[in-house]
Amino acid sequence: MRVPFSLLPLRLADVVFAVGPRRIIDGVSLQLDGGQRTVIVGPNGAGKSVLLRLCHGLLMPTSGTIEWNAPELTGGPRRQAMVFQRPVLLRRSALANVIYALKLANVPPAQREERALEALRKVGLEEFAGHSARVLSGGEQQRLALARVWALQPEVLFLDEPTASLDPGATHEVERVIGAMHAAGTKIVLVTHNLGQASRLGDEILFLHQGRLVERAPADRFLKRPASPEAAKFLEGELPW
Amino acid sequence: MVIVRRTFVSMLAALVAFAAQAEDRFITVASTTSTEQSGLFGFLLPAFQEKTGIQVRVVALGTGQALDVARRGDADVVFVHAKTAEEKFLAEGHGVKRYPVMYNDFVLIGPRSDPARIAGGKDILAALKKIQAAQAPFVSRGDRSGTHMAELNLWKAAGIEIDKGKGPWYRDTGQGMGPALNTAASMNAYVLADRATWLAFKNRGDLGILVEGDKRLFNQYGVILVNPDKHPSVKKQLGQAFIDWLVSSEGQKTIADYKIGGEQLFYPNAGQPDA
């Protein structure tokens, strides 16, 4: 669903996030446009999760600005959503979890069940609609989390290491859903440790190091010929796949 | 979910039922623990309720506390056994008129071993002097009850200033008659008790009646309507109906009919205005 004024591009200007004396994000400026799938990589402690949360609005920057192109409509569905490494699901059925998100988005009651079922179908979980969400497997739970946000039809989807806790089979399933959402028009912003995943899912890569955006390049070029020394060291250290 | 709703509804109904009780015909009588624990009320009140349809709710406390409850206007009638305290109550304007109702007597209870050698005596004052001389363990109620006040008066009459004269042998427990008897039984101590509570008491241990029959052990009960002028919430008609019944020949006979093990506990004497 396209609204008249797109949320994107998202502009960050000199964003700093400090906890006491420690600067976890140390002056990041960037612009995120629609279309491309953006993947963020970097060593532990680089600030990737924090950057994602700042963009999504879960954290407020200590200084600097974060601006969307158009403000979110109050009372309307959330146009940007986030999926976390461990999905947080309520003690209800899978269907009820999706309906809950639709309720929060002020979707009219009559439409909720239909849209929820549709979302479950898209991720291949429609047979689990009545099952308790908590008894699903790790991969199924993460797909349910994706169904939950897909039902909202967001313009932007942030994902924080969504497959880090999953086995290869479940990872593959989740990557398939992410790809489908992108094909349906959602901007993907993904943080991952898995360079294979970065290469499979990424169009462009942002390399974060010690709270700074050190390099930004198309995925192929970054992975084969990184321009910065920190990136080269990082790629050397990480066992790709 | 249905269970939750049904429970909720029954809760509400219960609360409403509680509130509705306020509309019934009943009076609140502040009385003493000894009267309650003797079982007299269980015998007396159903007879009154059958005759008049008035429910009597007895709050059983020590005499001092019962009079205090009435001073706050939380009772309609007081029924206690401490004439001096009752007359002070009237003098303060909290009561309308005092009617003597009945009497029983106090007995001096003590252990079979009787360290103070008072068993079988007829003179309570002599017995108390011997207990103090022997420093034998003695349990006092210490709770401003009618029994407690009677005990203090007896020490005074025996010429003993118990405040100064007491030592570790004098155990001031601050409890009702039953608990005090429990304590005396477990300590093998002497204790002054009203006969009615003693007869109904089951945990006697090694205790028995050692001194009785002295006129000074006489225990008079009086009933007073709380003054509706001072406390407008008092149910004066219903309260007066209770008092009238207590002093009537029917009420007096019912009191005399109350027995434990064939023994009469209380002696009606409403006909003695000086009592």
């Binding site: 949360r53 999504h56 879960l58 959330r78 959503a81 986030m82 976390f84 999905p87 947080v88 309520l90 003690r91 209800r92 809950y100 998100a101 929060l104 988005a105 308790s132 969400a133 908590r134 008894v135 939950r148 | 429970t7 909720f8 809760m11 219960a14 609360l15 509680f18 509130a19 009780q21 306020a22 609140t28 623990t33 624990q37 009320f41 269980g42 709710r57 007895v58 709050v59 059983a60 001073r71 706050r72 206007g73 939380d74 409890q175 009702g176 039953g178 608990p179 008897l181 429990n182 039984a185 109904a200 008491f201 089951k202 945990n203 006697r204 406390h231 919430s233």
Partner: protein, 235 residues
């Protein structure tokens, strides 16, 4: 001691088998008062606890400390306070509820509501750490989050509620003072046990104690079973 215990057990069984109407009345009243108090305490305490857990406000730490301290309110103190409030000579005397079961419910609710609030605050706060990011991401308000968490934690809360019920059913100090232990009106299990003890009828008191224990045990077992089955269904 063994004789007393044996006699007490025998008395307990005899009373129950005979279906003594007096006993039935006392048990029914005890349950009515305890269950009503617990229900009211949950209605008051659970939302307060959850709200404190998910919100940040100046003085929050002090509020938490005070709330936790209120769990230890001595029951006689509450009883005395409520008595002074409800006495004819007191501010709420006109209500005329002193020496009635309503007064007992009021006193017990004052005792248990802080317990429900303090415990639910802890439980919700722990869960909030886990749920916070996701719920905020979906656009949930603080108030909505508190409600959602209370419902999601319903199985844990069952244990909390049983703790509150245990406190109510075992309480004697407050209900004795504000109820007056009036025969047939405000006499409950605990005050009856106290009365029979003071009358020296220890086997009967102990027997009643066994019956009370058994009732509380049965209710706890029931709650546990309900919790288990529901949890298996809903994870």
């Amino acid at each position: 001691m063994n004789d007393t215990l044996a006699e007490a057990a025998a008395q307990a069984v005899a009373l129950v088998v005979a279906g003594d109407p007096n006993l039935v009345g006392i048990v029914a009243l005890s349950l009515q008062i305890s269950l009503t108090s617990v229900a009211l305490s949950c209605l008051l305490g659970l939302p307060v606890g959850a709200a404190i857990a998910v919100n940040d406000f100046p003085g929050k730490r002090l509020a938490v400390v005070v709330l936790n301290a209120l769990m230890g309110l001595p029951s006689v103190v509450v009883g005395l306070f409520v008595y002074l409030m409800l006495s004819r000579a007191g501010p709420l005397g006109a209500l005329g509820v002193l020496f009635t079961p309503t007064a007992m419910v009021i006193a017990q609710t004052i005792l248990i509501a802080p317990l429900m609030a303090a415990l639910s605050r802890q439980v919700v706060a722990d869960a909030w750490l886990e749920y916070q990011d996701q719920l905020r991401s979906l656009g949930e308000t603080k108030l909505g989050a508190a409600a959602t968490l209370l419902w999601d934690l319903r199985f844990t809360l069952v244990t909390l509620v049983m703790a509150g019920f245990g406190r109510a059913a075992s309480e004697v100090g407050a209900v004795m003072i504000v109820g007056g232990n009036i025969d047939g009106v405000t006499r409950v299990m605990t005050t009856t046990i106290a009365l029979e003890t003071s009358k020296g009828d220890l086997p009967l008191a102990l027997g009643l104690g066994f019956i009370l224990l058994f009732i509380v045990l049965a209710l706890n077992a029931g709650a546990y079973l309900v919790r288990e089955t529901a949890q298996r269904r809903f994870g």
